[in-house]
Symmetry: C2
Subunit: 457 residues, 2 copies
């Protein structure tokens, strides 16, 4: 069965999921002349308080910015974004160590998930081609009949909709993917870390003053677990504790307020005085799980496609979940230009090009948890990063550190991972010769660097 004929630009499109990726995608598609209907399970967030304990902030970086630039909204977002130029590591005795994210002036940006979603929804609502439908839970997707069974969660009425072209931007637990999972030979995996996370607050100081450096992402690396903090506009920080579910040091082991208090005082002593609501927050905020979702194919007969977390949910440790979903929009938009009107080819090319990158990013995100919770506390690791910066400064066209490729470039993730793996092998050969930053300039090291770079070229 094929969709009824429409002029390529007027075909009506249906999006399930009005989160960050769904609302951005709607703007891209509407700009091409399509009528776009967005159905979102939750109430309109613009008329809601942020859900309890879920005032998440996200790290927006170059891939995300490019996607926002594509619809001209980058300046609005930049006004409410806080640049973070470095990591600030807090040792157990209160010492601070810093690691720059990139070259001077390169930063990731702390933005409120909720604020960004509101901005994108305002733009979508103002667009004449887009209609927004909230409180609409997708109960069933009939891929053969191209029908959606929806329930209005305010009236509990169920109704059936027909779609022509369907975009599943409904996140890690996607209903659209749920229907595709039952089709022939659909590869699927959901894989949980044995860690959960809990969100906590560092409050603002007097007169809305930030009590920690607001230009850093703060990390309390503790080997098998960590806490991080990102600044908010109001002077507070959102903290997240990433912590084992079970075991000697775990959520399961912290049962009483006294145990929580004693644990935090022991391992995060410099943070505790800034967290006056620690105990009620710890008790009341949910413990959330950390899942990686992979699947393939991402599309069904040129009629349905999964975008963002629906096809490639990743753990948050590289700050790339939203950026990857936004980059999906950029790539899809390029393909819509390249193969205008030929949805079969657009969807087929989209999944073919994008799947290796999504897989690479999923691996990088899991890898970075170990780096953040453990390796950043190791002086040798920090020295290696400094040496890498020096190589990159000396050979700017040949060596961009992996973190910069992922965060400050548009190099496909899979290519970045492959480059990063080669770079790490070189560093493993170089570092035995290096004991201080100054060693980089010794003739022996310089000779080896030159030799390695010649082979890399």
């Amino acid at each position: 069965m094929s969709a009824p004929a429409f002029a390529a630009s007027s075909e009506p499109l249906t999006i399930i999921g009005g989160g960050l990726v769904g609302s951005l995608l709607a703007l891209y598609l509407a700009r091409r002349g399509h009528q776009v209907a967005i159905y979102e399970r939750r109430p309109d967030p613009r008329y809601q308080e942020a859900a309890e304990g879920r005032s998440i902030n996200l790290a927006l970086s170059d891939r995300g910015w490019r996607a926002l630039e594509g619809i001209g909204v980058q300046d609005d977002v930049r006004r409410v974004a806080l640049p973070l130029y470095k990591r600030a590591m807090h040792s157990i005795d209160g010492q601070l160590t810093y690691q720059a994210y990139g070259r001077e002036n390169q930063a990731i940006y702390s933005v409120s998930r909720d604020g960004l979603n509101r901005t994108l929804l305002d733009l979508a609502e103002a667009h004449p081609n887009i209609t927004l439908h909230f409180n609409q839970r997708c109960l069933e997707v009939d891929l053969h009949q191209r029908q959606l069974t929806m329930r209005d969660t305010t009236t509990q009425q169920t109704h059936v909709l027909t779609y022509h072209r369907l975009f599943g931007t409904d996140g890690a637990f996607s209903a659209v993917r749920g229907a595709m999972q039952k089709t022939e030979r659909f590869n699927y995996s959901q894989s949980y870390l044995e860690y959960g996370y809990k969100e906590l607050q560092i409050v603002a100081g007097t007169a809305g003053k930030w009590q920690l450096d607001k230009e850093a992402l703060h990390i309390w690396p503790r080997g098998q677990y960590m806490m991080i903090a990102l600044p908010n506009l109001d002077g507070s920080f959102n903290c997240t504790l990433f912590f084992p579910y079970e075991g000697e040091t775990s959520f399961a082991a912290l049962q009483t307020p006294a145990q929580v208090q004693a644990f935090f005082e022991r391992v995060f002593p410099d943070a505790v005085p800034l967290m006056p609501n620690l105990l009620p927050e710890f008790a009341q905020h949910p413990t959330s799980s950390l899942v990686t979702v992979r699947c393939y194919p991402w599309s069904y007969q040129g009629e349905v496609v999964l975008i963002g977390d629906a096809s490639h949910a990743i753990v948050p440790f590289y700050g790339q979940g939203m950026n990857a979903g936004f980059e999906d929009c950029t790539v899809l938009d390029q393909l819509l230009t390249e193969f205008a009107g030929d949805w079969d080819t657009v969807f087929a090319e989209f999944q073919r090009r994008r799947k290796p990158d999504a897989d690479a990013m999923a691996d990088l995100a899991v890898y970075n948890f170990q780096e953040m919770r453990d390796r950043v506390a190791d002086p040798r690791f920090l020295l290696q990063k400094k040496i890498e910066s020096k190589i990159s400064a000396q050979y700017p066209d040949q060596w961009l550190p992996l973190y910069s490729q992922v965060t400050f470039s548009h190099t496909p993730y899979a290519e970045a991972l492959a480059n990063g793996t080669r770079q790490e092998q070189i560093m493993q050969r170089l570092m035995p010769l290096i004991h201080t930053e100054a060693d980089y300039d010794t003739p022996a090291v310089q000779a080896l660097v030159q030799q390695e770079m010649a082979q890399l070229a």
Copy 2:
């Protein structure tokens, strides 16, 4: 919520799935005094013709035999099983090459899936503690209320059952696992090969005579694909073509009877004269997919457990799917003795002990496809296997080939895989010195073998 109290041996148990593993498990549990109810989606196979194109035979080996011995049914089964002592490789020009499976008299046994299932169901039906319920489709499992919504597929009536303890033996597309997949932090993957399979027949000769050696598993290895054949009691062989779905040489490329005929004559010339029904069978028999399913945990709160394909469906290339499911029954039975009455511990230990073995077997099964379709056609590979046999004969206590560990021993699969990996590394060092079987006895080779064995010990 915990189950109402019963004497450990009288607690009623519910099994979803009355296939090979479900019926065997019922016999093990009933022997302990439990009342066991089996619910099976399909009609009673004892009153049905075998489903069209699905007259599967299976390779029963030592792990399977041990499980059958546990309930005293091994002699009944052995009477209808055909021993296969070797692989017989058919080259494209009709040459036959052989590879023994193990030591003399070691064999895998070709048995009819349907016949074995009938035997086990007869035994289950005769047991006073077991009730059988066919045509019962499990629509929903409510893990909190411990309720099953079942539909009788003959009357279309739906009814709700309460269970005390539930065993999911309902195969690769398990409904019980489907419910567990929605619980917190359930890890799950379904992964398909890009190959499908189709079942075909080599007919019996005059007077029910086998037209190929009936003591061999026949393989037509063709690099990227293969056909295999296992003997039946009536003189016929069941053939299975394992073949890519897409591509130049694929199911997609064989569209017309003339294409099928030409292809088979070109690549399986010695088999075609024995397959008079090739064209109608090829057209009418389904093309089936090949899936590996992994998940964890396998149990839910000491109340529900997944057994066999429901928790670890594997591809068929090592002939271990049924054997692994039967070994699950052996292991579970041992744990029921060890921790009598303590279901929480039994289920927890079962999944903890058995998961690494299921994962190893899944990997081995995928690996063996490449061996069967490709490597067995390589004289160097066959020479390596002969040399391995010689090492094993010389050092019987130290070296059992991987295939024998998997097939003719009860060594846990994970341990077998680890041993096999070490052995392969040794063979990689040895084989460059060896060009003929006789080379094994040269002083240089013997010295290296001795040295390797000393390190292995």
